[in-house]
Assembly symmetry: C2
Homo-oligomer: 398 residues x 2
């Protein structure tokens, strides 16, 4: 497999994802190990007319040094200039491109997980606000690297594993189509149509039932389904995730009840969380267990009042390209588009009508985890309490 | 050669160089290709009690993308958050560690040199001010990488070249001594003693004479010689360069006259400048030529009024460890400590008495270039105009 897909993915990120405009400043977030794609994104962005590409690198190995040695009471300190930079990006209506994919799996395995969880960087509230306030045109795309490939395909040699991962990413990003930007325009239209149909249905709540899961997620009367693209507050279209196969909405943060078991692991900035189980009462997560990485999850959920309540519920059917591969990527961007999921933390304001916007969940975190799969049925609960199947064995019933 | 020298160099940078204090924020500037030393510096800094290590990565390949594609009128734009970050570092009296050594020699060879020169990043005035105002305790240390090794030792294979470069750096950084921090304390004392002796001499000007060089650099009556370490404005000692073998002072920016030929190439953020010749009149560089890279040099010198005048003159004798190796490193940190040199641009205020401080050179740039060597004689010019030999064949005469 040659490397022509790298510039193609970069071009897709810039034109089909963030939709970089001439004269824009572009923030590019990446990690050591992602240099080649980062440089291609820089080329593509400048070719698209970017004024400046500001690359920030987050190194998990430096974060590990902090987790091992820094004084306890300093671990949640974040430099003020990171927030100031984010505010600049918002004021200048910048473009934001982030590269996804774990570069250092297991890097925190020899650290105290409670200490690791106290350092939430590179996540900061000001960056979350850029997304939630739709002040930037942003996208996230996956970037293969050898360490990630070895985690996904442990039985293959290094070269074969990287090739397999790259092939999978080419496929799910639709780089094997004649015109990937157009392919995503068309896929986006399909998802937007699905979202519109769901928004017209009188759904008071979603009821997830499957192995270890019996969860009801209450919606607002004005909850709107979204998918296939978003708009910056001034109307500029962008595709926040490539790939994206989901439709999603903003739930009522007071009306989630029951138990849920994650159907896929999630990577929390270097810590893998596996076998996650959460019990909700009155919207709040009151009990969290996991086979691995529970402290990282608890750390996130202790961030603020809204961090233990839902800000998003998303449905993924079997028509996408990720689920059918049957690959667990251990990367939320890909795995969340293979299976229905929920997110703790910040709600997208656009997912709810103005009359309920003030009641949508507010938080500095937004952590998705996957709860759907072939064995999980999703039922729509009507305002009168009657339930009807909505998503069964990967197919929408309506 | 094993890699034990990496943590030793990191520890030297943190304790012997920047002198990181408990509770300090540490800014660490590096480039892709320097990950291993960067991570060791982070470990060493946190072990020394750092509150937070903020790593910034500058990627010359991303800068190349800008030079190739960005609109002409945007090339000198710099993000405001870089300057704000620098001001924060000054206000909090942070520590600053930078890793030196070209990671991408020739990266701009296929770019328009005039366009490359217009983008001065990662250099910004606010970072220069931190140094000139002594508001941070800082150091620069060399970091070997394969691309640099191949440039320095083009006739060796990749592994052998890297080993040779690492061995040279271990030697010149005195990591082969029992206690490198103490070795630098002692070497610093020697340089400080030499500087004190020079400060007591009635030197009105320095006269450099050698092949292609006949240059007189006028000093202030209150010019002070420095070397072997500096102090933050609150008195905290630090060693700005490891290695350092120089003594230096602040010249009168109006009193340099004659011609000078660089005796070593210099790497200007990725552009190699070779065969540089400069003619000065009344302190100002009025004619600049070079065999290679002249546009990069002219670009720097066009930065502002002070960029074409001298801010530093430095003498290096043969008692250091770099010159005797006979290696051209193509890295200013090392090469400037092999040979006497001058710098265009900003003057160190500490190098001149308060009565002349306002007349010292001011600029947003500071570019050293090497003008000394075995064939160049340095004479001291007394206030009455008489000349006496000061540095001949690498030895001070007094």
């Amino acid at each position: 497999m040659d490397d022509n897909w790298l510039p193609a993915l970069a071009d897709l990120a810039v034109r089909g994802g963030a939709n970089v405009q001439p004269g824009q400043v572009v923030s590019l977030s990446c990690q050591p190990g992602q240099e080649r794609l980062a440089r291609e994104v820089a080329h593509a962005a400048y070719r698209a007319g970017a004024k400046y590409v500001d690359v920030t690198w987050h190194d998990p190995f430096v974060k590990r040094a902090r987790a091992l040695h820094a004084a306890e009471d300093t671990l949640d300190w974040a430099p003020p200039w990171l927030g100031e930079r984010a505010k600049h990006l918002g004021r200048m209506s910048a473009a934001v491109v982030s590269l996804s994919g774990p570069v250092a799996p297991g890097v925190f395995d020899d650290c105290d997980p409670v200490r690791v969880a106290r350092d939430r960087l590179p996540s900061i509230p000001e960056t979350m606000a850029l997304v939630m306030e739709s002040s930037v045109n942003w996208t996230v795309v996956p970037c293969p690297n050898p360490a990630w490939a070895a985690m996904v395909f442990p039985d293959l040699g290094a070269d074969a594993a990287l090739t397999r991962l790259a092939e999978a990413i080419v496929h799910v990003c639709r780089l094997d189509t004649d015109d990937p930007v157009d392919a995503w325009r068309r896929r986006g239209a399909e998802l937007a149509e699905r979202a519109a149909r769901l928004s017209e249905m009188p759904i008071d709540a979603l009821h997830f039932v499957g192995p270890g899961t019996d969860l009801t997620v209450g919606l607002f009367p004005s909850s709107r389904w979204l998918g296939g693209g978003e708009h910056r507050r001034d109307g500029l279209a962008h595709l926040p995730n490539i790939p994206t196969e989901e439709v999603f909405t903003t739930p009522d943060p007071a009306r989630t009840n029951g138990v849920v078991s994650a159907t896929l692991p999630l990577d929390l900035a270097g810590t893998l969380v596996e076998g996650l189980r959460v019990r909700f009462e009155g919207g709040r997560a009151v009990e969290i267990t996991a086979d691995r990485g529970v402290e990282a999850m608890r750390g996130r959920m202790a961030a603020d009042d809204g961090a233990a309540r839902l800000g998003e519920v998303a449905l993924v059917d079997g028509s996408g390209r990720i689920g059918p591969l049957g690959i667990t990527f251990n990367d939320t961007l890909l795995d969340e588009n293979a299976a229905s999921h929920i997110a703790l933390g910040a709600a997208y304001p656009a997912g709810v009508g103005a009359e309920h916007r003030a009641a949508a969940n507010v938080s500095d975190i937004h952590v998705d985890f996957m709860i759907g799969g072939p064995e999980v049925v999703v039922r729509a609960v009507a305002p009168d309490g009657t339930e009807s199947p909505l998503l069964v064995r990967g197919e929408f019933t309506a």
